[in-house]
């Protein structure tokens, strides 16, 4: 089992130089394709250079492309970025499609990404706009002046009504209704 992740650097998402706030700037500046003209391990790279390299260079005028033949060495891709980072990638025995995929990756990233474990998927300069939440937010100010221990404040909020309380309430209602009736009777008599 590999223990490489134990020593991996960790960090937070950052974009270099406020990239994307105004216009977007491609971070890849140079790409070097090294290959051998007759070795079999460079066959995919040779195919890529023959078929797709010119299209790639035309589509990306901001990227300088170097092609470097060298005898009996494995094919290699090297990308150089605006932040000075350099990513080296061996393309031994890889096919044309694989190479175009890796070149696309080199083009779209901001620097070598393989060495950083991200701790967050979000970065902000302004963490809170309405103010951070506190337990006293949107609470009545009466709670500040509450004297403890207080019997009322220490009761749970969701106690169901007991049978006794229900009975008392019913009795009070009846009394109220009776009172109203008595009032009505009184009013009628007064009217008379």
């Amino acid at each position: 089992m590999s223990n490489s992740h134990l020593f991996l650097k960790s960090g937070f998402p950052r974009a270099p130089l406020q990239n994307g706030l105004g216009r977007y700037v491609c971070q890849l500046q140079r790409i070097t394709l090294k290959f051998c003209k007759n070795n079999g391990s460079s066959r995919g790279m040779r195919d890529f250079i023959e078929n797709h390299l010119l299209d790639f260079a035309k589509e990306n005028p901001g990227i300088v492309v170097y092609v470097k033949p060298r005898r009996h060495r494995t094919p290699v891709l090297v990308g150089e970025y605006l932040n000075g980072e350099r990513e080296w990638m061996s393309c031994r025995n890889s096919t044309q499609e694989e190479i175009s995929k890796w070149i696309d990756l080199l083009k779209t990233q901001n620097g070598s990404s393989s060495s950083l474990r991200l701790r967050k998927m979000w970065h902000t300069e302004v963490p809170s706009i309405q103010g951070p939440w506190t337990p006293f937010l949107l609470r009545s100010p009466d709670a500040q002046g509450q004297a403890y221990p207080s019997a009322e404040a220490s009761k749970p909020l969701d106690t169901p009504q007991t049978a006794t309380e229900k009975l008392i309430e019913l009795f009070r209602q009846q009394q109220l209704e009776a009172g109203e009736e008595a009032h009505d009777v009184l009013n009628k008599k007064r009217a008379e």
Partner: protein, 201 residues
């Protein structure tokens, strides 16, 4: 103070509990508030309609205040909760968010995030149910980077069974920069009805 701009139906629902809510506000934390427990159906229909009118008036005045503030551009920095690729992000202009997994937009693409669940400023909050009506809030973003994550090791082993597998994987990551969040048009209290046909989900 934050004024909650709500639509009429929502306000109506809170009407009978208004007094209880303020009474319970000072109480300590509890699992379920008083509101749910002692909720009795209001029998007087006449009273309800009067209260509804009051609520409508209040809602309109809140919307008016929001619109006035936006008109004078005194609202300050806006923030929004957007739904993007199955996750929700709280964003404000200048933020960076990362989308995990395969996602087609490429570098330099300028996109607008349409599923806005909530938007707010210093003095007001607009809450969607579940999303705000499309076109009310414009969230613009730029795709800044598409890359792969660090190599994750996936290791499985069963003891005493001669079984061991080790896999390595890197998932695609897309970095998105939020450019701007804007209120596209003035807020109206009852925009819910017309938008129901254009619902995203």
């Amino acid at each position: 103070m934050s004024f909650l701009a709500q639509t009429m139906r929502q306000m109506l629902r809170h009407v009978p509990n208004r007094s209880l809510l303020t009474a319970g506000a000072m109480r300590p934390l509890s699992i379920s508030p008083v509101i749910g427990q002692q909720n009795k159906p209001a029998t007087e229909s006449v009273d309800l309609s009067a209260i509804a009118k009051d609520q409508q008036k209040e809602c309109l005045s809140i919307c008016e205040r929001i619109n006035r503030q936006v008109q004078k551009s005194e609202q300050g920095r806006l923030f929004a909760v957007v739904h993007l690729c199955g996750k929700q992000f709280k964003v404000t202009p200048g933020d960076i968010i990362l989308v995990e997994g395969y996602w087609p937009p490429t570098i330099g693409d300028e996109i607008s995030l349409d599923k806005v669940l909530l938007a707010g400023a210093r003095d007001f909050t607009l809450v969607g149910r579940p999303i705000l009506e499309p076109g009310l809030i414009l969230v613009k973003a730029t795709v800044v980077e598409k890359t792969l994550s660090h190599t994750k090791t996936h290791f499985r082993k069963k003891r005493r069974k001669q079984y061991m597998r080790i896999n390595f994987q890197r998932s695609p990551h897309t970095m998105v920069r939020i450019n701007s969040i804007e209120l596209a048009r003035p807020v109206d209290g009852n925009g819910e009805g017309e938008s129901s046909s254009r619902r995203l989900f």
